[in-house]
Amino acid sequence: MSTAVLFAMTFGVAFAGMFAGAGSLPAAAQQTPGTTEVKIDNFSFGPAELKIPVGTTVTWTNRDDIPHTAVSTDKMFKSKVLDTDEKFSFTFSKPGTYEYFCSIHPTMTGKVVVQ
């Protein structure tokens, strides 16, 4: 086997791997707009920080025994008082960072990063 053939085979495999990887990476990293859930439990939002693409609807569900709210600091969204198992949804149509908190327990905070 000539050096040229060996060279071509080596780089061929390497390129194939690169393209295979390149093909799978965007699929893994790509986030399509849809719905995402934030659970409110034990006096905290989970996840506390969420990264989502534009157009995603976030649903907050109160899994705690006591009432909570989800209110953005810039008044972009504001839930009513959520009792146990009640939900609130909001669709993020603009990119940006949206910080929010529970107006009954202001130390409970969260963040949604819309990309």
Partner: protein
Amino acid sequence: MSVNPFDLKTVVLAKHAQHVVLIHFPIALFMVAVAFDFLAQWGKSRSLAAAAYFNLLLAACFTVPVVATGLAAWQFALEGQKLKGILLMHLVLGCVSAVVIWVVFLIHLRARRHPENSLPTYRLSLEAIAVLLVGVTAHLGGFLSGVNGPG
């Protein structure tokens, strides 16, 4: 959201924090007043009766800012939305407790202004009911504020 607890702006504008702080005063004063009144009745002590009266006076006075800050928290933090569940129970029981504390105080005030009339014994039953009401309201308030959680 880090805050300096000694910053005046934090203290004044901390939404419903004032309610959570002030509520301890009428609870403690009323409980002590009732204890003194029971002891005064049992031991026929005028000084304990006087101590009960002044504790009741302060407890009744403290209910005013406590109810005001509670209602303000409802209006500002929750924008006056319709309450239900624990929040509604806390609001109703809190208002009823404040009224009963005032009624107990007025019974003592009336007896004090008319020394010829002794304090009615039914007040002790009313005081016991009031202690129960205050206790349940405080329990719900503690539950809401997250004393049993990291909130």
